[in-house]
Symmetry: C2
Subunit: 492 residues, 2 copies
């Protein structure tokens, strides 16, 4: 096979790129830092999006759409938010190109078409949305507003990686408005639960729910809740965030509501998002040196059937039997492809579908047909077994569920084995370098210490887990008193 | 009611804006020419998008996603395409803002963060996509590529109108690559059929399928096929286009394939799109002076039930009966809302749902309950009838279908009555001014005549209908010989 994948041991980073490119998920583009999401990768995103969208709607949210551009004066209104994103935003300054008088066939920016006010391509939409909400909210009767948006956003990152960090990415951003602080906090936590449930039940990716330290907070938030996952190389990945924004944006955009007693107060806000970055996390949670491994519940293709035959007669007999199997699988809502293309040999197809992470592969030969069985291979464990054709659809249905569970259990066992409590600085540094993973260590609670640890080791505080055990201890760096352990890791 | 709508006769244009704003479809934004699509409007778009997406997939297409930005050098590669869009494109020139040293809290564009090459915000994606396809296509085995993208695009229009013409809009753009001219033309026509079927069967909006004249063609196309609808004010609306692009983009981006005999040739292309503009067309096809009128098959909410009661006891009895009706309707896949909110009177609610164009309204009072009936009102004709509760779900199901058909028939009768054959210039001008609608007239086939007619009357050739009758005649303007009538109209 021509599509050789670098092994994880040789070069983890190259292994990841090989998988994304050769697995058909994405491609580089002519635009610096922007990727093309290929049909197979987009099919995966569609499955993830549809599940999430249903979860959002089931919790009372509706979708809407806000402008791509944010006028500079709105962008700068919430100061911390502006400061956080100003360094990496794409700015539209002109609205026309014209022919280059000195170079036929070439275009130049028309200096006469300069915008009076520059437009920022949204890195996130709080500003444009809260400016809009101002017109929608007068009284408590207009609240809550529970809106979500599926959109593209742009952050001009200097170092980019396919899916994990791209200049443009796709995401959803929920933006809600509430009459009380309590209600907004409940919403913030509810959406964190939704994300955690999605990550674990659909992506089979175990996550730790927690809250960020002040230095790691979203720019403009009072509190940032997050789910953190662990990749196979022992680095953490922030997989989703849910922000309690307090009244910061309501104050910046002067959004007040009259309560039941006709008293005016600023509105309380949340925002929350997950992005195509999740696909990077998915790849690095389950895949192996032979290619992608996708959890059945979000795999674009769940089952592939490959015929093995000599001559048209054998082929016709297999075709007929497969047709009933395909019908039975589809009736169960299982996506299946019968790959009887004759331009590649079965071995090539096996490798190809392994590369693409299709959870279940069925091979059906002439002798199998006589014996009333098929060879069924699991992508997760590479095990093969012979299964009776009579009950094949049922067997595959339950096998898909088994694979889903196995992937989660396997990832969770790895993750749990890589949360290491550490009590001294030497152990901290050694664990970080050799064992990797999350390190549960005492920290004195200051931003200065956090920054120093990051400087010395590149490890950051990923989160303070929710319902964290309170225990007295001493900070691994400063020896100052601490009330709890927090989770450190190197991160994507 | 506070939400007064301007009548169509008083001011058609204001009537349209009132409907879009007060019906809750969209809102103006702080960005010139860009709109906010509100939840109700976005719910409508979601229904339309889901139907179209299924139709695309059923015809073998898959979704993908390409970058928002097009580097200027790619943008200018296909000369006609570049020329067509250069005058109205948003240009990103910088990638960073910085603090204004002279104005605390304000930001300015950082002159040191100027891009080496400007990026155009995509007005359409042929350039970036064909530059990508170059890497995907080597031989006939890689063809056809049948890809669609759901995305936002930006065209810096000088005069904008909600949905009909906005600087940013949402759309889908199909981009296919083929090994032969014939196959590409078949694809172009197939997608036109898909659009026509969608417009007529789901939007209940009759359309004429045709081909554009050279002057009205998409910039970079060999042929532009279109569907044209007629609005209630007698103006035409281009509702969807499907372009046969020939080898223009393949040549501009040097995309060749090896055929079975290993001979190299340029790839053949199509592109096709519909946008949120369709929502504007939908509004203007069916709505009336009381508000929106939405076809049941794409209405975000199909049925609303309003209780009419005095006291808790009556309310409880109605609630119980409504619960079974709601269950029965939902089991049929019908979307229904029971509006028992107590902050508004029934009359207010009736007007509100009329404004929002909900196809069927059910009112259920205490006496109705005793009599085993409900009052069912159709939004399209405003007729009310008493229906037995026992069979209400079935009756509503068939009523929704009746409404869908009636809307189409009504719009088609209006449209058909507004296609006027005209043989003299005086009649042409008079018909355009008084009767309005499409005018079927002879034209000498020259761009000069077409331009002159547009200059004199503002009417353009909307299309040359497919399978147009060939008949000799003389051009209404020049008297020169003509082989067929074409359709003129003033248009949005």
């Amino acid at each position: 096979m021509s599509k050789v994948i670098t092994s994880r041991n040789d070069d983890y980073s190259q292994w990841y790129n090989d998988l994304v490119l050769k697995g058909g998920l994405a491609d580089y583009s002519a635009v610096r830092g922007c990727m093309v999401i290929k049909p197979y990768g987009f099919g995966l995103w569609e499955k993830m999006r549809d599940v999430l969208d249903k979860m959002f709607k089931d919790t009372g949210h509706v979708n809407a759409y806000f402008p791509l551009f944010v006028p500079k004066s709105l962008f700068e209104a919430e100061e911390k938010n502006a400061e956080g994103f100003a360094k990496e935003c794409a700015v539209v300054t002109h609205y026309r190109l014209k022919n280059d008088p000195n170079n036929k066939g070439k275009l130049i920016v028309d200096p006469e078409a300069k915008l009076e006010e520059e437009l920022v391509v949204r890195p996130t939409s709080e500003a444009i949305i809260w400016n809009t909400y101002k017109g929608w909210i007068q009284s408590y009767r207009d609240l809550p507003i529970l809106v979500n948006q599926w959109a593209n956003v742009v952050r001009w990152e200097m170092r980019t990686r396919l899916f994990l960090r791209t200049a443009e990415f796709l995401w959803q951003e929920g933006h809600t408005a509430h009459a009380s602080k309590e209600e907004a906090i409940i919403e913030t936590k509810q959406m964190l639960e939704v994300y955690a449930q999605f990550a674990e039940e659909y992506m089979a990716m175990p996550v730790i729910k927690g809250v960020k330290t002040e230095s790691e907070r979203f720019a403009g938030a009072e509190d940032t809740y997050c789910i953190e996952a662990l990749m196979q190389d022992g680095k953490a990945l922030q997989a989703g965030t849910s922000h309690f924004l307090g009244q910061n944006f309501a104050k910046a955009f002067d959004v007040k509501f009259a309560d039941k007693d006709n008293k005016l107060d600023y509105v309380w806000a949340t925002s929350w998002g997950v992005s195509t970055r999740l696909i990077g996390g998915l790849v690095m949670t389950h895949s192996d040196d032979d290619g992608l491994v996708l959890p059945p519940r979000i795999a674009p293709l769940q089952v592939v059937i490959v015929p093995i035959y000599k001559g048209e007669e054998q082929k016709a007999a297999i075709d007929a039997r497969v047709a009933t199997i395909v019908t039975a699988l589809k009736a169960k809502g299982i996506s299946v492809k019968y790959d009887d293309s004759d331009n590649q040999r079965p071995g090539w197809k096996f490798a190809e579908y392994e590369m693409k992470g299709v959870p279940v592969r069925v091979a059906l030969g002439a002798r199998d047909l006589e014996n009333g069985v098929a060879e069924v291979a699991r992508r997760d464990t590479k095990e093969k077994q012979s299964m009776p054709l009579e009950t094949l659809a049922d067997s595959i249905e339950s096998l898909l569920e088994t694979i889903q569970q196995n992937l989660f259990n396997r990832a969770k066992a790895y993750r749990d084995a890589h949360i290491t409590p550490v009590d001294t600085w030497d152990d901290f540094v050694a664990t970080l370098e050799t064992k990797t993973g999350f390190i549960a260590a005492h920290w004195d609670g200051t931003a200065a210490t956090e920054a120093k640890i990051k400087e010395l080791t590149k490890a950051t505080i990923r989160c303070i887990p929710l319902d964290n055990k309170q225990e007295t201890g001493t900070c691994i760096l400063t020896g100052n008193p601490s009330i709890q352990r927090v989770l450190f890791a190197k991160a994507y």
